[in-house]
Amino acid sequence: MVLEATMICVDNSEWMRNGDYSPSRFQVQADAVSLVCGAKTQSNPENTVGILTMAGKGVRVLATPTSDLGKILSCMHGLEMGGEMNLAAGILIAQLALKHRQNKNQQQRIIVFAGSPIKHEKKALEIIGKKLKKNSVALDIVDFGEEEDGKPEKLEALLASVNNNDASHIVHVPPSQNALSDVLISTPVFTGDGEGGSGFAATTAAAAAGGVSDFDFGVDPNIDPELALALRVSMEEERARQEAAAKKAAEEASSQEKGEDAQPQSDSQNATSTATEKVSDPMDEDDLLKEALALSMNIPGSDSSAGDAQMSEASNDDQELALALQMSMQDGSKESSAPSDVSKVLGDQSFMSSIISSLPGVDPNDPNVKNLLASLPGQSESQQKKDEDEKPKDEK
């Protein structure tokens, strides 16, 4: 928690329009600047940060060192790009701004974002570095953007002449998918000398790292307990549902052995249940599909309610009720008619496909959907369904 006054030198030259860092070099630089400002002000409430631009018409100080984060961030808005970066003048004016800081107890630090080519000679940069070192000003350099021959060497030479006891750092950031701020979080620019990560840096790193996380579901229960709880509950629900579906399939398999009369129904049920089981296992959308089909079963043919009930009950997780219904089906005389009614409806392929295509997130070409469609119509095609049974079992 070093008490520090920091001046950030922003590169707003023409080279910042380039898009090799997404969305543009200037945008990633602005994000990094706001992140640095936040880190500095959080690590010690008495820290101050100021900003100046190095390109444009000339070096311009946008904000003198202040602890007001809002003022600093608002300075970054509406910055124009143009001109060439003047690194030497930028650093010298930053040093001047730091010299006139209000609290003389603060350590002085300059952070430079060097995105465009450097037109100064190495010697000149070394002289500047010595001057900074003599006045005990630390310097952090972020080398990104334009990669020019000799630019890293010049910046390393500058760092070597400034560096006093490892107070100064340099970071080279090549163009990549990662945002500049993500790369900077893990560097000493944020963590400070030997602190090993301030709290700010640690939490932002956890958030930004995404999948790399020690916690389940990639969400820190400390940060967002409700989200973590919701994810855990839904995971358990899914697991319970899958177990129930597996149990129901086993039930159907056992009920299949009971009566040959119930063969077609059980076959269809089995087919649908295995199909639905197979379907429901991987994806939620197929789960939705199954339920949508069940709903659509309920719409047509209210007279064949028993058959519809049978279908819908089979689709639900209430396997005992399904068993009871099926037993009653065996006794009932409607058994042959009911399935055929249902199968007539289901056999209407065009109707089915129109329903399915209207469902969001369901691809009619999905093999699961095709299997489901094929398994529904035609109780007489028990052979085909047996093939369907083999196929899902093989696929398993």
Binding site: K99, K134, N135
Partner: protein
């Protein structure tokens, strides 16, 4: 032990005169252009130790003999004279310029400002020389800044000991030491006279 007093030193202890080092706020002593950060604190020691160069000493960076030492005191002091023991082989400082009660001086300020007093130093390897001050100007010194612009050889500057002779008053400059920040007011801290039952009028 040689001493600039015209009496022999066995009778009394010269070191008591040079005891102002006890009133230096060592944690806040800083130096600019020192080769090893923090080494400046080693030059403030007792008179007897002034020739003891086994420990650390203050050295400027390679090739640059300028040194700027900022010394705050724990209370206001009156400084009668200053003694500086430099390094051998021309690394002793050749000039000294002092500034009183100004903090945050850096090299550009020091070079452009008029010092309160300046001396041409002599190589003082035995620590016997002291440089007297214009006492009237050094009456209430809360902090002092010593600027050594050059050394004899011109390459680097080494300093082994800096001593101050004088007396310490018990006064402190107006420094706000303890501040209580009040984020939300606590009514119990702000009792008015009416509430505490003072005064003639009594409001229910």
């Amino acid at each position: 032990m040689a001493c600039t007093h015209d009496h022999s030193c066995e009778d009394h202890d010269c070191s008591s005169n040079w005891s102002l080092y006890k009133h230096i706020d060592l944690s806040k002593v800083t130096a600019l252009n020192e080769a090893n950060p923090g080494s400046v604190k080693s030059v403030f020691k007792a008179w007897e130790e002034r020739l003891n160069s086994s420990g650390e000493h203050l050295e400027s960076n390679e090739g640059d003999p300028e040194l700027l030492v900022y010394i705050p005191f724990t209370s206001d002091v009156k400084i009668k004279s200053i003694s500086v023991v430099g390094g051998a082989d021309g690394t002793s400082p050749s000039k000294l310029r002092v500034f009183i009660n100004r903090d945050g001086i850096d090299f550009s300020d020091a070079q452009s400002m008029q010092p309160v007093q300046e001396w041409d130093l002599v190589e003082n390897l035995q620590g016997v020389l002291e440089y007297q001050t214009r006492y009237s100007k050094f009456q209430s010194v809360a902090n002092i800044t010593l600027h050594f612009p050059e050394s004899f050889a011109g390459d680097t500057t080494q300093i082994h000991y800096i001593g101050f002779k004088g007396e310490a008053t018990q006064l402190k400059r107006d420094v706000v030491a303890t501040i209580v920040y009040e984020i939300t007011p606590n009514p119990s801290d702000h009792k008015t006279r009416a509430e505490t039952g003072g005064g003639l009028s009594h409001v229910e």
